[in-house]
Structure formats: C-alpha cells, structure tokens
Symmetry: none
Subunit: 208 residues, 4 copies
DNA sequence: AATGAATGAGATTTCATTCAT
DNA sequence: TATGAATGAAATCTCATTCAT
C-alpha cells in the first residue's frame, strides 16, 4: 500500500522501458525464463503488471528485448577490435583482457550469457542472434589473425580456429564458474590473473 | 513386482525406473526445469503421470535424481584418475581425453551440465553436489599434479589452479558450444582435435 | 514501441458526443457489449479514451445512451402513425412499409435491435425501454385498428394481437436474416417485395 | 501444502461432457459469449475450472460445442419433414406446428438461436453452420412445396421464398419476444394459437 | 476540456499434485 | 503397483477506469 498522501501513480515515460529492462534482466538471470514471474519484474521496476504491457507485447517479447539489449555493447567491442589493425599477440592480449574484464566485472553480461545457454532450446532465436553478431565474428577475427601470423611464420602450424578456442576457453569457464559455482561457495577465480597466465602459456606454446 | 520380503515404502535410487530417469533427462535438458511438463516425461517413459509419484515425491525430487544420477560415472572417473599414480603430462593427456570424449560423445552429460548451469539459482544444491563431488576434486587433482611437477622443475612457475583452468577451459567452451550454438547452425567443434592441439600448446607453454 | 508525439486535432466540443455515439454504435453492433473495447470506440470517434469519460460515466452508460438514442426516431414514427386517423388497410400498408424501409435501409436500427436482443439478459432496462416506448405501443396501435375493423365487419374474427404479430413477423425475420445470415453468405431478402406480397396475402386472408 | 479433509473429488466420467454442455448452455444463453465466466460454468456443472479443459480446448471451443450440439435435433426434424411426402397445406401445418412447439417448449433452442444471432459477428462459423444445416434446407423445402402447389394451381402466383418467409416470420418474432421482452414483463405470446390463426390466414390468402 | 500512461482487478489457461479405482 | 480424471493455485494477459499533466 502506498503511503497516504502520495499520488497513486506517476509518469516517467522516458525512463520506463530502461527501468523495466533492468529489472527484468535481474529476475530472468536469477530464475530463468519460465521461472520468472512478471509480478516480480513489475515490482522491481516499480510499476504495475499492466504497465509492462505498454512497452512489451508478451513475456517472450520482454525476454528477447533483455537479451538483445545486452548484446549491443558486445557487438561494438568486437567491431572496434576488428577495425583496429594490430599484430596478433597484441590483439590476443587486448581481446582476452576485454573478455576478462567483461566476465569479472559486468554481472549483466554473464547473466545474459547464462540465460542464452539455458534457454537456447526454448528460444533458439536468441542463440542465433548471439552467435551471429558476437560469437562467430569474434572467433573469425581471432582465427584470421592467427592464420596471418602463421603465414608470417610467427605461429606454429595448427588449426587457427582451435587455437582461438584454446585461447578463449578459460574465459568461458570463468563465466560458468562465476554464475554456477561461486554462488554455492566455490572460491572465486581471479579472472585477470587467469587471462595473463593463460596468455603467456598459450602464446609461448604457439611459437614455432 | 517387488519380492515379498522387501519393505514397501523404501525407495532406493536404484529401484527407480531407469526409463523415467532417461525420459526426464531428455525433457529437462530440452526445456529446463520449469519448462518441463511431467505429462511429457510420463508419456516418453511410457507410464502414467501418477506413476511418477510412486518413485519421486515431487518434480524437484525427480530433477535432483536425474542430475545426481548423471554425476556418478563422472565421480568414478575422477576417482580412478586420482588413484592412478602417473606423471603430470600423462595425467593431463588422460584427463583432457576423458573430458573430450565426454563432451563429444555423451549427450546426456552435456545436457545435465547445461541444466546445472541453467538452474543453479533455483536449485543450488545441485551445483553444490556437482561442485563438491566432481569439479573441485578434479581441479584439486590436476593442480596437485601440476604443483608436484613444478616442485620437480618440470613446469614453470605459476598458479597451479590457473594452469588447470587453462587446460580445461576449452572443454567447457566446447560443451557450451555444442549445447547452445550447434543447434542453431554453428559448425561443430572437433573436440578431440581441440583437446590434442590444446594439450600440445599448453604443455609446451608450461615448460620452464 | 515508444509513444510519439502527435499533432493535436481539436474539434468542437459539442460535436463530440454524436461522434462518440456513432462510433460506439458501430463497435457495439459488431462486437456486443462485453466484446467492445473502449479503446476501439475512442479510436473510431477520433478522441482519446479518457475523453469518453467526460461524457459518459461508464461503459454501460455509453451503451445505454447508444440504444436509447437509436430509439427516438422510432418512437416518433409510431406516434405519427397513431395520430393519423386512417382505415386499417391503409395503416397496415403504411406501417409495414415503414418497417420494411427501416429493416432494409438503416443499418443502425437493425444493429441496435440485435443488440437489444443479445444483451437483454445483461441489460434488461434496455429491453424494457424498447418494449414500452416502441414495441408495445406499435402492437397496441395495430391491434386496436384491427379490432375496430372487426367491429365494422371488415376483418374476420380472431385475436387482433395475433393478427398483428402475423403481419409484423416477417419483418422481424428479415432483420434477423440481415444481421445474422447475410454476413455469412445467405442471399439477401428483398424486404420491400416481402412486405408487399405478405400484405396482399394476409389482408386477403383476414377478410371475413 | 497438502491439507487433508473430505474426499476432494469424485469421478463421473460418463456424464461429464453432457453436464458441462448443459451448464454452459445456460450461462452462455444468459450472458453471451464474452460475458460468460468459465468459473460460473464450472460451478453450475459441479466441476472445477480445470476440468473444463479436459473436455474442451478453449472457451470458444466449448461455445461451438454448445451451439452445434443444440443444432442436431433440428437437423433431424428438417430431414424428417423433407422425406415425408405430403401435400403443401399439410406440410405447412406440420412445419409451423413443429416450429411453434420448439419456440414455445424448448428453452434451450431459443437460447441457442439468440446466441447465434448475438455472436454472429464474433463467431460467424456458427451462423454458417446453422444456416447451412437448418435454415436454408428448411426454407428450400417449404418454398419447393409451394412452387409445386403453384404448378398444380393450388396457390396463387408469387415468389415461393417470400411466401415461406411470410409463413415462418411470426415464429421468429415469437422466439425473439420470448427471449427479449417476456423477461422484462411483456405478456407472453400463445405461440400455438398464433401458429394456428396465422396458418388459416396465410393459407386462405395464398389461394388463387 | 482533453490526453494517454498507469493501474489493478479479473479473465482464461496451465500443470504439479492428489486420490478413487 | 498403476492409472488418469480431477483439482486448484498460480501464471499471463486484458481492459475499464483514473488522474497528473
């Protein structure tokens, strides 16, 4: 019940959709798609259930908006990295550093990634979008740089794509660890240190 | 029918019909916990909905049984590896090979792992079990071997735990890839080749 | 989708209720009382949803206004017929011709009649008004003329009220036909021809 | 979560669908499609809301079942009349008598007819079924007999279809009267007497 | 007088769970 | 042990009505 004297509702049209998306992200990340009750999203966003439907047609629509909204900054990052012409080792350091900061820092991204993994069967279009706009371009970028480095004789023979997976794998592991095992008491992973040590190891291991 | 002498109300995990567990695993993996309808599990198992409740108290109980049931072979594998006294490189090759075969071969395991990730917030006890019985022992085992190898001067300095994550990361990535991106058209990862190439790379990179 | 500002189109205040009533009649006739959304009424009337509440207290109030508004011309017609002192045959021809023109010509009237029929249980006051102001006076008028004609020996014995129903029945049938069966492909009834042929038949059949 | 108490439910599988249809007919006839709450249907049928969905997929599906279920006896009647080879006057007497008994006797039929009229815009398929299986065959049958009688010189010239409408119209009027005006205090129509007097009048008026 | 974002009660529909058979 | 019809709480979604602007 609202305190006496306070108006029953207020208008904040500009901020509403963003507030709803932020609240929805939290609840979806915690409960999954089906486990999320729009009641709770509305409460966290500080609006009524009905208000959600002023901005999003259905629950699935809201879910899609949450995921695609979280994608855009990552697309930008991949693009930025692709346009910067740098040698392989520097690019690898930049890329892994970026992934490490994302995994370690931004709760929202790891939450959304977990959602995409969890709901890939029920909402395959989200896995598609994530794959096409972030994952595949990223992998292609890295493996392209590796192939070029191989052509210059700076990297030993081997499948460039597998090298890329070998580089990125521990970052994925960290994300899963953070979302799954840390909440039940597992000691946290120092992702920055992992990225550093792993880079040193793999770059050395990739030399001819 | 049970033998006459058996206590009526004692439900042992091994007495639970394998068909129900198998059917439940399929549906849970495809739809998640909340998205799974017991109707569908019963239909796939070839029993009535009511029959499920002869063996499992609730839906959550069935879910827990599915996940813990899938854990046991992995526990065995980790134990077997722990008891075999082998040098680090051989152990690493054995361990990663085992993970690779698991990831690439057994749909059930990757499905369960995805479930544990997806439902870790709603069913943290499963993440706990998985972590305590499989993940942490495995990581401890590998990093112990690495520390021993470092003490013998066979591996360069560095955090043994991070080395372990560096080794296993790409296997986790492969599992996520298979469950999430392959179903939406991503090219499959040759996990065995990835394990081989990654091992060569990392082992070389870990030398003093 | 976010709302975009639109240029305000202002109309004369006193003109609005008629537009609202016209729009409401269309939607109520098409969808029934419960099936009508005030959103759609407002859109068709070219006003905002809130504006409806400046003129009508509730949806039911608007509905009543629509139906009672449609009654008044019919009341006038019945009164006009009652005041004109004409012989029975001529009155019957006039009355049935009027009904025929109403049924065949004015979509609004047949729509409202259908509404009154459909909603008589939920809004009995409308059936009451319609009955008291149009139907009963009309029936009484006709049967009074018939009784007078019988007294003069121009019409054979029989219940005058039933004679009246016998005359008007086909007009009611035509209204139902038009509203119910024509929209699903039934061939239309030539109501004027029906009225003519039916009058000839019945007047002949009523002769002593 | 499991409050023990009196026997919570009983099984009466054979009678269930018919009970639900009967209850639904009452409520739909009283409130219309949109105005009907499944809560009330379930309560009148003596079952839970969920039980309705064991027999009918949706509310609209239940509605269609109610209407089509009510049609079948009328189809039979029309068929029976069509197969009986009788002269026109006798057929007209039989047909109108049947309509009169239906209108005066069976509450369910007049309720369903009112429903079809009221919901013809929202559920046109019901108007279609009713028209194709009952109304049009009936009209065709009667007008065919009239045309034959005209060919034999027993009936004066005129559109046979319009003669048919002239005969049946008062029965439609009676049905509307009963459903709409009787509930608000209008004196009832003696439908049998109306049918008799109208037949005498029209048959006399149709003679050459 | 007019707007339209916001509300919240109420509707349909789903589905885990129960229990008479 | 097994069934599956039945339950009822809970979820999504709708829309008449309100009120700050």
């Amino acid at each position: 019940m609202l305190p006496a004297g306070q108006p029953k509702f207020r208008r904040r049209p500009e901020a509403r959709p963003a507030e709803i998306l932020a609240a929805a992200l939290q609840v979806f990340a915690a409960r999954g798609f089906q486990g999320t009750r729009l009641d709770e999203v509305a409460r966290r966003a500080g609006v009524s259930k009905g208000a959600l439907y002023l901005y999003f047609e259905t629950k699935a629509d809201l879910f899609r908006a949450v995921v695609t909204d979280a994608i855009s900054p990552n697309i930008e990052r991949v693009k930025a990295m692709a346009s910067a012409e740098v040698p392989f080792e520097q690019a690898a350091r930049m890329g892994l550093g970026m992934m490490a900061r994302t995994v370690a820092g931004d709760r929202r991204v790891s939450g959304v990634v977990k959602l995409v993994i969890a709901e890939s069967r029920n909402h395959p279009e989200l896995a598609t979008i994530w794959h096409e706009t972030v994952v595949e371009p990223g992998v292609t970028l890295i493996s392209g740089l590796i192939a070029a480095a191989q052509a210059r004789g700076e990297v030993r023979p081997g499948d460039p794509r597998l090298f890329a997976f070998g580089l990125m794998g521990p970052m994925v592991l960290s994300m899963v660890w953070r979302e799954t095992f840390e909440p039940v008491g597992a000691g946290p992973i120092d992702v920055a240190a992992l990225a550093d040590q792993h880079l040193d190891t793999v770059l050395k291991g990739m030399r001819p």
